[in-house]
């Protein structure tokens, strides 16, 4: 019996609903059943699950939930468990700050092993904070297939060693409902479509990350996001957008739900989530505005984790069959080098996929510049979000 908390159970239920796997009636019925089951049998099941996990090593994984978690579970974790007997206990977060808060509160990394870490900026924060490990790359031979271009920024932060393996990449562009907004109009307006008063009450935005908000504010105020000179102009644009926003979403599942239900018509969005919506048949268009935000994600191993098993899992995840199946499932291109590993059409057709393996056309966040201003500017966003 696999341990699953109520939040995860609900996340999966909502995801199935969003995917169209179950209808509303079934959703509400299952919701009731889930609640009653949790109430009646939660304690017993937890106890049984604890006993069942006694064999093999438990690896605690935290990631982004929704289709991403589903793909990782289906194509990486479950086969890994079957092959090795080690269990991957996965849970979700809305952002890595949640994990850092928990670790800080507990005073240890116990119960936290591998993170689906986003961006080089978080890699820098984790390693500078002393939470990193030195991976033994000889135990991860599949790492040889990873693009050099995606590894380089990580090596720059920790010269001589790595605490994580880059695993996928994607973009945060603009998603729009094609029933209400044409492709021509969306692409002509670029990032400024999020400031169009015509769509007041139908605009969404990611509320969970100040830097994401500021990146779009920079684009809207005509600045280079990696070289912002006028922060007041950035926040003025963010304030302007706030007046038009219906909901700041806080997770990928919520983003998909808002777009699929047409609560919102336009928002910045994660490329893979939009691809998942498109695959489900929703009328959602997507484009990356000029200087749109690209990011790379890594599998970060936290200090105190069982190293042999963690490295074994990373190697398993980077095996071409696994990595490409996960990529197609989560809709984010793999970090594997397309010049070394043959990619199927299900991966090459993904948004942001770069067949050259150089990633030269994508603009990533400069961690040195962004991390340096986070304390002040992050706080500014929290205030502006609330009308301050």
């Amino acid at each position: 019996m696999k341990k699953m908390d109520s939040t995860t159970r609900l996340e999966r239920l909502r995801e199935a609903m969003g995917n169209g796997d179950i209808d509303k009636r079934d959703f509400l019925r299952l919701l009731g059943c889930a609640g009653i089951t949790a109430g009646l049998s939660g304690g017993i099941m937890t106890s049984l699950a604890t006993q069942a996990r006694a064999a093999g090593t438990d690896l605690y994984f935290e990631g982004w939930g929704g289709v991403v978690s589903e793909a990782l579970r289906k194509y990486a974790f479950d086969p890994y468990t079957k092959a090795t007997g080690n269990k991957v206990i996965d849970s979700t977060f809305g952002g890595e700050k949640e994990v850092l808060t928990k670790i800080k509160a507990a005073g240890s990394t116990k119960g936290h092993n591998i993170l689906h870490s986003s961006g080089v900026d978080w890699y820098m924060r984790w390693t500078k904070g002393g939470y990193g490990v030195k991976l033994d790359m000889s135990k991860i031979p599949n790492f040889d297939n990873v693009m050099e271009s995606i590894v380089a920024p990580f090596k720059k932060i920790t010269p001589g060693y790595l605490s994580a393996v880059p695993y996928d990449y994607g973009t945060t562009g603009i998603a729009y409902n094609t029933k209400h907004i044409s492709k021509e109009e969306a692409e002509a307006q670029g990032a400024n479509i999020l400031l169009n008063p015509k769509y007041k009450g139908k605009i969404g935005g990611w509320g969970g990350d100040w830097a994401n908000r500021a990146w779009f504010g920079a684009l809207q105020s005509g600045q280079d996001p990696n070289n912002i000179t006028d922060w007041n102009a950035v926040w003025a644009k963010v304030r302007e957008m706030r007046g038009l926003v219906k909901k700041y979403w806080s997770s990928g599942a919520e983003l998909m739900d808002l777009l699929a239900s047409e609560e919102i018509w336009v928002t910045e969005a994660w490329s893979g989530r939009v691809a998942a919506l498109q695959a489900q048949g929703h009328p959602i268009g997507y484009f990356d505005p000029k200087n749109g935000l690209a990011w790379m994600e890594s599998m970060f191993v936290l200090k105190g984790s069982p190293m042999d098993e963690s490295e074994q899992l990373l190697n398993f995840m980077l095996a071409p069959d696994t990595a490409l199946a996960v990529a197609a499932g989560q809709k984010y291109p793999s970090s594997l080098d397309p010049t070394k590993v043959k990619m199927p059409e299900s991966v090459t057709s993904l948004p942001a996929f770069d067949p050259t393996g150089k990633l030269a056309s994508l603009v990533f966040r400069d961690p040195v510049k962004w991390n340096a201003v986070e304390k002040v500017q992050g706080r500014m966003w929290d205030r502006i979000k609330k009308g301050g």
Partner: protein, 290 residues
């Protein structure tokens, strides 16, 4: 002096000691830690330096941003409390006065929602009021509307979410109070010439006030201390003081400020309890459960 010592009865303290130890360990000591932490200095994200400085407190006292949050919190808590009191009294009265043989079933129905997670119950409103929700689907099916109505992510949905979750607390408190009233009092008032409404207004309602007051206090405090409901069901303008604490601790990783804000909320809600005590007397709380 020796006589006074001999009179000292240790038994209440012995009996109270397990509760006192537990409260001290689980409430007093953590709160003391939080108070101490509020004077620390947040140097960088998740990096705090032990210090004794009043920066966080001065900011809370002088920044209008926090006053707006306090105002919004108290205003919304008041609305939720009033609506819960009005909506809760009728079912509580019905359950208390019914001669239905299986009254326990009604009480069971009342506590059944507690078996389901608070977050799941809150999220369920998205599937009721949302564009694809039950209400819009029904109205579209019946041809009453041509396009889904925008009902989500506003103050209204936040209030609905709160009432849904906290109404059972109100009903249970009022019910306990009503159930303890002598059943002969209302008929007695009627025999003395009072109308049904007068008998209720002059006899039942005043006697049920301890329960109503306890329910109001509970719902007010629970609402004012919440942050999840506005996060899930609210729009950009819907937030409570608890959301500022969430921001400080989770998104800004500024624990000293989070601690100062938490203590502030505790003090503010403490003031509410003191005001309640002045108006109703805390002993009425005990009566509510008598």
């Amino acid at each position: 002096m020796a006589l006074e010592v001999a009179k000292f009865d240790k038994r209440p303290w012995v009996l109270l000691s397990p509760a006192l130890v537990t409260i001290t360990a689980l409430v007093v000591i953590p709160m003391a830690f939080m108070l101490a932490y509020s004077f620390y200095l947040n140097v960088d994200l998740a990096v705090d330096k032990p210090a004794f400085q009043f920066g966080n407190w001065i900011e809370i006292a002088t920044d209008k941003y926090y006053y707006v949050a306090i105002w919004k919190t108290f205003r919304l808590s008041m609305i939720v409390t009033l609506l819960a009191a009005i909506l809760g009294y009728v079912p509580a009265y019905f359950i208390a006065m019914t001669r239905f043989r299986h009254k326990w079933m009604l009480l069971l129905l009342l506590i059944m929602p507690f078996w389901i997670s608070f977050i799941i119950r809150t999220l369920s409103w998205i599937h009721i009021l949302g564009h694809d929700g039950a209400i819009n689907s029904l109205l579209l099916y019946l041809g009453v509307i041509r396009h889904p109505m925008d009902m989500m992510y506003n103050q209204y949905t936040v209030i609905v979410g709160f009432i849904h979750v906290f109404l059972p607390y109100m009903i249970l408190n009022i019910y306990v109070s009503l159930d303890g009233i002598d059943r002969n009092l209302e008929p007695a008032a009627r025999t003395l010439g009072a109308t049904g409404w007068q008998a209720f207004r002059e006899v039942t309602l005043p006697l049920s006030l301890p329960g109503l007051g306890a329910g109001c206090l509970l719902v007010f405090v629970l609402t004012a201390g919440s942050y999840v409901t506005p996060l899930i069901l609210g729009g950009p303008n819907d937030f409570l003081f608890g959301n500022l604490i969430y921001d400080a601790i989770i998104t800004e990783l500024n624990w000293p400020m989070g601690a100062a804000l938490s203590i502030t909320l505790l003090v503010l809600l403490g003031v509410v309890v003191i005001v309640y005590s002045r108006l109703m007397g805390l002993r009425q709380l005990a009566k509510a459960f008598a």
